[in-house]
Symmetry: C2
Subunit: 271 residues, 2 copies
């Protein structure tokens, strides 16, 4: 056990409720940690907003988390990570982890063929954030495909469903046409972890062999654990979760689906 | 031929590109009319924004159209219709038609069983705009079901597709469980007209008989024709279309899909 301990919470924010998959991964990897989640559901989506607006929203989200005395901030939103992380990292009194780099590093470690596939929303694919992050690590071929139906399928809760497998097969067939020798597939959206079994089944069928699926939420949780361990800042308590959103619409339906358990009372805050 | 003619354009706005199905219906019903379309693609979606913001955006959209000297405004967006139409109708120097009432009136005329189904986005279903509009006409039973996957399916262009039919069957099965004697189905979203064949096929299978599908875009075009005829304000020229958006993302892909033809050059405007 580390000499120092830190009972302060880890803070996670996302533009919506998809980031609860990161909270679920954190609760599995670090059950002793208290967690604070903020879903900026009133102002989603961030993907079609200007960089200035996304930076402003990200700052207010981080201020809210710092007000809860967090010891580490996880940005579970691709858009906010890409646009606000560099600035925030230089400004904040606590470490910050983004949504893209942990998944990129995990994929670079996992691949044998050095050929990596990335699936994500239209915004994430267009931003090429994963391509840049993976190719900054080394000489890898990266192919991408946007899968716009996967977010609404996840939100519908059609997770273990032949229709979802059929739709995933269609998307992965298009990815396979770009590079059939990839061995690693990055789930580049916080909504996708709950579709992992369907995606694994579809990938095995399309590629004729299992692919290594890199779950960005797991990768973020693993890096959070490493950062806290390195700083001697792990907690040793009973853990816990405090959930906040900026609009309550659909939270009751969606939160348990992404979190994998009942979130308890979810408070609405006005930022 | 009417004694008076009016060569000024009809103006249509939507938060995105779905409203191009209304333009397509107008071009079929009124081929002599010049049309101006504005898709506020930079600020979509409207569904999760405050009423004040939606009213402000709607006003700037209408100001843009009035600057193009339109003789009639069509609001091809359910949210903007519900929140801004009552105010705008009292303020503008030209008539305004919303997205909900024409479809509601067409459904009330079409039904024999007086039992009407409505499908739409989560926002539209939650607003109960169609329920209120139909029940304001007379004594009808209205059942609704939200179909969040239909918009991304339409945007993917998977229109004549067994997966789309299968997803529509699942949604309509849930609608049928609410009321199996309905005979009329309102397509309560501007994206849905391009899925009409798939929806008709799914409805016939689920209900065991064909339903009358009320296409809101066709209903809006029919009412526009009636309003202009009544005012002696129909055009007699060669028609034409000028398309504007506030952000160019995906326009090249999506516009022909919803319009059913090439839109010509689409100009980006900053409102």
């Amino acid at each position: 056990m580390a000499a120092q301990m830190d009972g302060k919470p880890i803070g996670v924010f996302d533009s919506g409720i998809g980031g609860l998959t990161v909270v679920r991964a954190l609760r599995r990897a670090l059950p002793a940690e208290p967690l604070v989640y903020l879903g900026d559901t009133a102002r989603l989506p961030y993907g079609n907003k200007s960089p200035e607006t996304v930076r402003r929203y990200s700052r207010t989200n981080v201020s809210f988390l710092l007000g809860r005395e967090v010891k580490l901030v996880l940005i579970a939103c691709n858009t906010a990570s890409a646009l606000a992380l560099p600035e925030l990292a230089g400004e904040l009194p606590v470490p910050v982890l983004g949504a893209v780099e942990p998944g990129a590093r995990a994929a670079a470690r996992a691949t044998r063929s050095r050929r990596i596939g990335v699936i994500g929303t239209l915004g994430t694919v267009k931003s090429e954030a994963y391509v840049r992050a993976i190719q900054a690590i080394g000489d890898f071929e990266v192919v991408q495909h946007a899968c716009p139906l996967l977010v609404p399928l996840a939100e519908e809760g059609w997770t273990d469903d032949p229709l979802t497998v059929a739709i995933a097969e269609r998307y992965l067939t298009e990815l396979c046409a770009k590079q059939r020798d990839l061995d690693t597939l990055v789930l580049g959206c916080t909504h996708y972890p709950i579709l992992k079994p369907a995606l694994a089944q579809a990938a095995a069928k399309v590629f004729g062999r299992p692919l290594t699926l890199v779950d960005s939420a797991d990768a973020m949780a693993a890096e959070a654990a490493a950062v806290l361990a390195q700083r001697g800042a792990l907690a040793s308590g009973a853990g816990g979760l405090a959930c906040f959103v900026t609009d309550h619409a659909r939270i009751t339906d969606l939160a348990p689906r992404f979190l994998g358990e009942d979130p308890g009372p979810v408070a609405v805050v006005d930022l």
